[in-house]
Symmetry: C2
Subunit: 435 residues, 2 copies
C-alpha cells in the first residue's frame, strides 16, 4: 500500500540561555535559544518520524511555529516514497507557492519555515535509507543532486551544466574522501571563549581550554567597544600564540566606514577573518569593506537569506569564507545550491553553527561538500559551540578539535522527548514562574 504523511506538528521549544549570558554578542545581548520544532509523521506502523526545526533566539518563536504549521497542508496526505524520492519538486512547490511567496519572497519567517519542513523531510528520507544525511547526499549521482536544485535566478553565475561539471569532477575520489572523513572527522573551531558577556579572566581561561581541547581556531565577538576589543584580542593572542587562528565576529554592528576603521585597529592581532561586519543585506558594503581591509578577509552568511544573495556576495568577491546556515535558507536543497555556487567561485564554506541544533545539522552539509562537491577541507572549518547538545538523542561530537563524522541514520535533529516537554513555551517546566 502507498504510505502517506499523516501529520506535520510543530512545537515552540525555548531554552532560557539569557539567564547565563551564553551567546551574548554586540547585537544579541540576551538570546533565549529556541527551536520551532517539526515532527513529521506517516502511516507506516512503527516507521520513523522526520524531525527538523527553525532556529530562533526567543521572542517570535511562536510566529515561526505558526508559519511552519501553515505548510502542513502542503505535505500531509502526500505519498511518502514518491515525495521523498523527488524533494526537488516539493521544494519548488513550497518556495514558489504564489500566495505565500508574497510574504518573502524567499526570506524571513516563511523561508525559515520551509527550511524546517525540508530538513525534516531529509531527516526522514535518511532514516528510512539507514544513512546519515551527509552520506545519503554524497552517494547520489550528479544528475540526482542537480535535480534537487532550483537554478532560477542563478544562471548568470551558475548553470545546471556547470553544476553537473563540478559534481562530475568530484566523483573521482568520493570513496577515498568518505574513508578519510570516517577516520579523521572534519575540522572545528570554537566560539565558546569569546562571548561579549564574559570577563577577561573567563576569556583567558576559555582560550586555554580551547587549546587543550585541540582547537586550532577560535572566535571572539567584537563590536561593542573598541578599547575592550583591542584588550580582549590582546589577551586571546597572548594565550593562543601566533599560530592559532583567531576570527572576530561583529554580528552586523557596524556601518561600512566604522567597520573599516575598527578592523584596522584590530589588524595588529592578526584576525583570521572578520565576520558580519555590517548588515547581511549589504553586498555592496561588504565588497567595499573587503577591498579596504585586505589581506584580512570577510566572512558572512548566517543571516544571508537565500541563494540569490550568496550569488551576489560571490560575484562581487564580498566574502572570502561562506558561512551557510542550516535553517535560514530553505533547507538542504537550497544549501546544495549554495555549496555549488561556492565551489564555482572557489570560496571555502565554513558553516555557521551554535544556537541549538545547528552543529548537529551543518556537519552533514560540510561533509557532503567535502565528499561530493568541493572535494576539499582546505581552509574549511565548522563552527562549534558546546551548548545544549545534551537535548539531542545523537548530538554532534567534537573531539581533538574535529567533528566526529556521524554515522547514525538521519540528520541528528531529534531531541529527547523529555527535553521537548520541559522546554515547551510557555507551558514547560523551565518556564514555570518561580513563585
Amino acid at each position: 500500500m502507498t504510505r502517506r504523511f499523516t501529520a506535520l506538528d510543530t512545537l515552540d521549544i525555548r531554552f532560557p540561555t539569557s539567564r547565563d549570558l551564553d551567546g551574548s554578542d554586540a547585537m544579541n545581548p540576551d538570546p533565549d535559544y529556541s527551536a520551532s520544532y517539526v515532527v513529521l509523521r506517516t502511516d507506516e506502523p512503527g516507521g520513523p518520524e522526520g524531525h527538523g526545526f527553525a532556529f530562533t533566539i526567543g521572542r517570535g518563536n511562536d510566529i515561526q511555529a505558526a508559519a511552519i504549521q501553515a505548510l502542513a497542508p502542503y505535505v500531509v496526505g502526500l505519498p511518502v516514497d514518491a515525495t521523498l524520492a523527488d524533494l526537488g519538486s516539493l521544494w519548488r512547490t513550497l518556495v514558489h507557492d504564489s500566495q505565500l511567496r508574497w510574504l518573502g519572497p524567499e526570506k524571513g519567517v516563511m523561508h525559515m519555515a520551509i527550511s524546517a519542513v525540508v530538513n525534516a523531510l531529509w531527516d526522514l528520507r535518511a532514516k528510512r535509507a539507514g544513512k546519515p544525511v551527509w552520506r545519503l547526499l554524497a552517494e547520489l549521482s550528479p544528475e540526482e543532486i542537480v535535480d534537487l536544485v532550483d537554478f532560477r535566478y542563478l544562471t548568470d553565475a551558475l548553470t545546471r551544466g556547470e553544476a553537473l561539471a563540478i559534481l562530475r569532477r568530484a566523483e573521482a575520489g568520493r570513496a577515498e574522501r568518505t574513508a578519510r572523513l570516517l577516520a579523521d572527522g572534519y575540522p572545528a573551531y570554537t566560539s565558546s571563549p569569546g562571548w561579549l558577556g564574559y570577563d577577561d579572566d573567563k576569556l583567558r581561561q576559555l582560550c586555554k581550554t580551547a587549546l587543550a581541547d585541540g582547537f586550532t581556531q577560535i572566535k571572539l565577538k567584537v563590536g561593542a567597544d573598541l578599547a575592550d576589543d583591542i584588550r580582549r584580542m590582546h589577551v586571546a593572542r597572548e594565550v593562543c600564540g601566533p599560530d592559532v587562528r583567531i576570527a572576530v565576529d561583529a554580528n552586523q554592528r557596524w556601518d561600512v566606514s566604522t567597520a573599516i576603521a575598527w578592523v584596522r585597529e584590530l589588524a595588529p592581532y592578526d584576525p583570521w577573518w572578520v565576520e558580519e561586519p555590517t548588515s547581511p543585506d549589504d553586498v555592496v558594503g561588504h565588497a567595499t569593506i573587503a577591498r579596504a581591509i585586505a589581506p584580512i578577509r570577510v566572512a558572512t552568511g548566517e543571516h544571508v537569506h537565500n541563494r540569490v544573495m550568496f550569488k551576489q556576495y560571490l560575484q562581487t568577491r564580498a566574502l572570502s569564507f561562506l558561512q551557510l546556515d542550516a535553517t535560514r535558507v530553505a533547507g538542504v536543497n537550497e544549501n546544495i545550491a549554495i555549496l555549488l555556487l561556492a565551489a564555482k567561485f572557489e570560496v571555502p564554506v565554513c558553516p555557521h553553527a551554535g544556537g541549538v541544533g545547528l552543529c548537529e545539522l551543518v556537519q552533514h552539509l560540510a561533509m557532503f561538500d567535502y565528499v561530493a562537491v568541493s572535494g576539499s577541507m582546505d581552509d574549511r572549518i565548522i563552527e562549534y559551540v558546546d551548548h545544549l547538545h545534551e537535548h539531542f538523542t545523537h548530538p554532534a561530537v567534537v573531539r581533538d578539535g574535529r567533528y566526529v563524522t556521524p554515522t547514525v541514520p538521519g540528520f541528528n535533529a531529534t531531541m529527547h522527548e523529555a527535553s521537548l516537554a520541559e522546554h515547551t513555551y510557555p507551558g514547560g517546566a523551565v518556564w514555570a514562574p518561580t513563585a
Copy 2:
C-alpha cells in the same frame, strides 16, 4: 491625565479577487488581495483609532496577522502623546528588538508587521493633528524629519547631515508646492488594462478607457509568453499611439540573460520602463540588466525589503525608477529614509500601489516627497488600480489621470466596518461555503 494605548487588535481580511483574475500576472496567477488590518485604540473617550495594515495576497495572511499581534506588548500601555511625538524612537524599538530581529533581520513577515503598526501610529497622529499624513509630514522641520530616520547601514551613501541639507534645500517653495498639489493633484498611471488574465479585446478596450480617463501612462504585465507579450504590446501601442507611456512589468519572472533578451524583443514598442525583471534581491543582476537594455530603464521596489537594499540599487545604478511600497518596508519612517536616498541619487520615486489600500497610503508618501524632499514631479507618477477602493471610508480618488490630493485627517487607511465584517477570513460572509 496621560492618555495611553489600550489595545492593538488585528483582523485577517481577505478579498476573493482570484475569482475574477483581477491582479493576475506572471508570478501571481490567482491572488486573493488581503490585509492584516490593525486597529489601535487609546483610552481617550471618543478619540480616534489608528488604522494600518500589511498587504498580502491570500494564504499566509493569518501568519502576517500573528506577527502584528506579537507587537502589541510593545505599544499597549505606552503614553499616547509622548509616543506619537517621537515615532523615531518607537520605530527603533520595534525594528531592533534583539530577539525578534532574528526573524528577519528587517525583512519578510516581521518587517511587514512593523509597517502595519508604524503606519497605524501615523494614521492616529495625523487624525489627532487634524491633517492628512502627507501634510503632517511636510510641515515638520528638517530636523524633526531626520529624527524619524534610522541612518544605521546608510552612512556610506547618505549621512544625517546630507539628509538635512536635502530637506533644507526643499524648504524654500514648500508653500507654493502645497498649493499646487491641492489645486492639481499628483500624476497617476493605470495598471488596470494589462493583467495577464485578460484577452486582447479586453486589453484594447481597457487601453481606450484609460486614454478616455486622462491617463498618459499605462502598464502591461509581461513575462509568461514572449509571443503573447509582443502581440499585446503591439495592441496597446496601436491603441495608445506613440506619446502615451507604456511600462511593462515582469513580476520577477526572468533570469538575467532571459530578461535582457526578452526586453530587446519588446524594444520596438518603446517600453517606458521594465519593472521587476528578476529577483528583487538581485541588485547585481538588475545592474547588469540595466546596462544591457539602456536606454530602456529598470524600475523595481515593491518587493525590495528595506532601505539597505534600496541603498545598493541606487549605488549601483541598478534602477532608474524607485517603486517604494507602503507596507513592505517598516512603514512611514523607513520610507522617509528611502525618499531621502532617492533624492540624494536624483532618482524619481514612483510608488507601487494597487492591491488593497496601497493607493490610499502611497499617495501621502509621494506628496510629502513633492512638497518637502525632492520638490519635483518630473517623471514621478503613482500607480493606480481601480480595485477595492469602495471598502475604504475615504478612498483614494483619481480624476483626469491624477490623484486628487487628500485633505481628510489621517492616512486614508480606514475600512468600513461592514467591509471588515464581510471579508474577515474565514468567518466573513464572502468566505461562507456556497452549498
